[in-house]
Subunit: 222 residues, 2 copies
């Protein structure tokens, strides 16, 4: 069986947990905090990041996108990359949008200010950085609202890795108290639908030690 | 015909130029500086980044990885992603390594200090940042040397997108005077072989206006 090296607030680990559940791939989980740079994690992934999936034939699978492509190629159930080269290009474009742009502008600053400073550095968050991250997050919700004006799911007519990636990042922002859907009715309906999928419901009870989410976080009616 | 929106020192544009040449896909080029945020570029790519490939059926293709996957799916000549799911996972892992880690730690700081500050901000480079970028680049050469100790090409027995991506980033560092292969004999041989490929030779005569590369930059014997 595969073992996923992850921690509860890592958005890329959440992305992998959701996609493996959608594909009915069984896996065990092992806690790994990248900032602790454990020998085990560094041996599995020289980049020192989560998620890593280890344990079956061949070397460990490193990076959420690598893992997603691997299982979409090897497990037929629930295709997540779109059908046809153009559709796949759109799924990949939006997945990269959330993994790189939304993460760098909004989710990573929230993780730094609200999780890493509290749990590791023992410092208060920087209010200005929180404001900038909040503004960036609102722009990403704007974009989701725009996409859903024309499409049922983010990359087109089918649920895809782009929805999983967006939901993974937004769920981390939500845990950290940074997410409000006021003014984004289509995005709210989309997120509510995503939250009710078994693959996502399964990870909402998880807690990061020493850090609680807001009351509404794991409610389907939020 | 496709049109590639790019600028000469964009490593991700170089990656696309090399892979399109390897696959014999014809394309025109149009200059686009992301920092000018032109309406044309923003309309093609809401993220405002190069490269974008526009012009044939369907929407524009955005992001070098999206473009690479698209052409590897649609053009049989010169497969660049490896054969089999595990080999593809290794090609993708290393491509992401160079596109994200090597770019963020070494190439992007070099571009900021040696290109953007000179051509746009009209400021001198920060010597400390250059030193940090140089140290990071040396670590990436270390890693290339390590990989080539066991493999003919970076991701295994075949030339792949990982080699293209690494060469694209290193060639930009080389243009900016930041690259030395002293102490990395296998990496030097590998880079010399890459430089002699027609797909790479074709882009070495390009110059960024107002910024010249060192003498050895486009020589096969460097």
């Amino acid at each position: 069986m595969w073992t996923l090296h992850q921690f509860p607030l890592c958005p890329f680990s959440r992305k992998v947990r959701i996609l493996l559940a959608e594909k009915d791939v069984e896996f065990a989980m092992q806690l790994a905090y990248p900032w602790e740079k454990s020998d085990e994690l560094m041996d599995l992934n020289r980049a020192g990041q989560t998620p890593v999936l280890s344990g079956e034939r061949g070397g460990p699978l490193v990076d959420s996108t690598v893992i997603a492509e691997y299982f979409d190629e090897t497990v037929q159930k629930s295709p997540l990359m779109g059908s046809g080269a153009s559709a796949r290009a759109e799924v990949r474009r939006l997945t990269i949008w959330f993994d790189q742009k939304c993460y760098a502008e909004a989710v990573n600053p929230l993780l730094l200010e609200r999780m890493y400073k509290r749990l590791v550095l023992r410092q208060p968050p920087d209010a200005r950085m929180l404001r900038v991250a909040g503004q960036a997050l609102a722009q990403h919700l704007d974009y989701i609202e725009y996409l859903l004006g024309e499409r049922r799911w983010l990359a087109g007519g089918s649920f895809s890795l782009a929805d999983i990636s967006a939901a993974a990042h937004l769920s981390v922002a939500d845990y950290l108290g940074g997410l409000s859907f006021d003014g984004y009715p289509d995005a709210k309906t989309w997120y509510s639908t995503i939250k009710s999928r078994p693959s996502v419901r399964r990870l909402l009870p998880d807690r990061m030690e020493g850090l609680s989410p807001p009351q509404h976080y794991d409610k389907l009616d939020f």
